[in-house]
Symmetry: C2
Subunit: 380 residues, 2 copies
């Protein structure tokens, strides 16, 4: 099970950084938005976790594809796509937004970037929001142009990321606040750099544009990688990827793993991004109001559990009550070397979601081990 | 490069047959529609090719997800989604249909099944047509219900498939014509069986429904697998998957590999499924008409090329003219043991697409080898 190869083909798209990633000794990939996402190099997840906590890493997260919405009705369409109000969103801001369907089922949880009053990028998790946005716009006769631009995010993450980025792009890097972006020059090209990333460390995401004139996409991408890599040597830079231990400790959710289209945003603790009492219209508004009125039946919680160190393999552990009712499944879980316990995320039924509730985890080989419901992010 | 692991998580969905696939010794997976597709077992692609040509194989193609469109406006919506006229489509038929966007760019090439006048399944290639269909329907205020049902296609392919299927489901299996389906009983559940499949051999696809009452999805799926497996012993059954040699020889296209959203259906030789002079309305009609009027600039052709046996690794070979102009890329290619030559599919520029045209293929290590343009399917 652990050693099954990924079969490569053009459909599983390479990125401008894939050659570099291979030279760095990538050992595991996954596929997100029909594109390669590195998931491991020579080190263990635990070694990478400690490194990410102390130094700086470079991550090829090109699979965070952008859906570019441009034109007179751009804001109207984006607003129709999310329960979060974007009325007061300013250019240069990043907003985490739930995207829901007509039943209030989650179909993505991207980061929205406002590039201009009539220009947005939606930096997506693993579902084809390009098709969703186009379908909605066509059906509604909105005056917008929607494309997937040649943009390939490259993340620089870890406590040394600011120092590294300042050494390359100057002191203005420090002025980028969390979930904001600014435009910087790289070899005469304009590149968007945001203070953000899929870790609980400080970090940046460079929305690398490979479509500038006079440049080959891969050539320019590799120059960017090399520039960061060389400047990163004195900060002990290493190649990396979203780290499962760090992500779960931080309570950062993963679409397709911790929730799916069968879940609504309230079950995902996204209440604060659901402005359904605002007067803006959005797909799923009636369904969401109804769910809020009736109350939800389950929500995502953290679980700390005993037993030998747990490493996931795609098969899910079931969660039971002490009286042996099935109450959830560990959708993302791993051993935390900081907490010296196993940690996991699970959608948990209402009667059992209180903090401190004792639960029982069933291992793949059917052993029962003790667990307890906890807050997210996990307590240190 | 060849030994990179696929990182497993819930997001890369398992199927009701994945346990069985693992027990059969699967060595490679790919990911299609956020779901595992086996791509190799213990044998080489060439050994599997010869086996598929002589005997019968069982393929887990659950990743061919269904988009179920049901309701008073179902036919109207499906017709809006494709340039192929479905006016005369009868219940029980399967239609291969291009799905295009407003620019006539291909966004999928599924098989459409008509289950009833107000009920269709779209059996999709690798893109979220569920979101496209829902977006269009919502924007257009169509009265339809759209879901991804619990249906997991299981293919039985190869010259012995009819005999095997008759031994399980009776003589009525013989009455299913190519690209038609009928309903059969399996342990008291109703299952749709079509004469179809992604090979040039005879074969069937069982649209396994895992949502019948009184059955656990995995339990029932594994019973179906075991039943076929046991009855298949006397026909020398083996686990398999879409075979790259067989597929390319047959000229069967793969969405994401041989064409993308940047290609129109005419470039993909799908002219006969483009009824743009019909009076039905569909997304992309104006764009398609314009492209037809102007004429296309490239189209998919077969290429036979020399050199040592070629095995793909996700990096594409460039195709040049004899005067060294880049004219295409081998998007799917492999050594054919029948033809004793390398064969490939490529989108080829107009000036070079004539059958018999000499071309030059550049290998990954930059050697130049001779090739020639040929028809599809490849001549025997």
């Amino acid at each position: 099970m652990e050693n099954i190869k990924l079969n490569m083909s053009r459909r599983i798209r390479r990125t401008p950084f894939t050659n570099k990633v291979e030279k760095c000794g990538v050992s595991d990939f996954t596929v997100v938005n029909h594109m390669l996402l590195p998931k491991g190099y020579r080190n263990s997840v635990e070694e990478d976790y400690w490194h990410l906590n102390k130094y700086v890493q470079i991550w090829d997260v090109s699979c965070q594809r952008q859906v570019q919405i441009f034109g007179p009705d751009a804001e109207k369409l984006v607003q129709k796509m999310t329960p979060r109000s974007i009325k007061n969103m300013e250019t240069g801001k990043c907003f985490y937004i739930p995207i829901i369907d007509e039943n209030a089922g989650m179909i993505n949880d991207p980061v929205l970037l406002k590039l201009d009053d009539d220009m947005f990028w939606i930096s997506i998790a693993d579902s084809d929001i390009l098709l969703w946005a186009k379908g909605l716009a066509l059906g509604s006769n909105f005056n917008v142009n929607i494309i997937e631009p040649d943009v390939y995010p490259l993340a620089v993450q870890g406590p040394k990321s600011e120092e590294l980025m300042v050494s390359l792009f100057g002191e203005d890097i420090k002025k980028i606040k969390f979930f904001n972006f600014k435009i910087f020059d790289f070899l005469g090209t304009k590149q968007i750099i945001a203070r953000s990333g899929y870790s609980k460390q400080d970090g940046f995401e460079i929305y690398f544009k490979g479509f500038e004139e006079h440049f080959d996409r891969i050539e320019l991408g590799e120059k960017l990688w090399d520039t960061i890599w060389e400047a990163g040597q004195k900060f002990n830079i290493s190649p990396g990827c979203p780290n499962l231990i760090d992500r779960i400790e931080a309570g950062l959710l993963s679409y397709g793993n911790d929730f799916t289209k069968d879940n609504n945003p309230l079950e995902c603790n996204l209440d604060r991004y659901c402005n359904e009492n605002d007067n803006h219209e959005f797909v799923g508004k009636e369904a969401l109001k109804k769910i809020k009125l009736q109350g939800i039946k389950q929500k995502i919680r953290g679980i700390i559990f005993e037993g030998e160190p747990y490493y996931p393999n795609g098969k899910l552990l079931n969660v039971f009550s002490e009286k042996n009712n099935k109450i959830g499944q560990i959708t993302s879980g791993i051993y935390s070397p900081s907490l010296k316990k196993n940690i996991g995320l699970s959608m948990i039924l209402k009667d059992y979601w209180d903090i401190g509730q004792n639960v029982v985890i069933e291992t793949i080989d059917k052993r029962k081990i003790k667990g307890v419901i906890t807050t997210l992010p996990f307590p240190k």
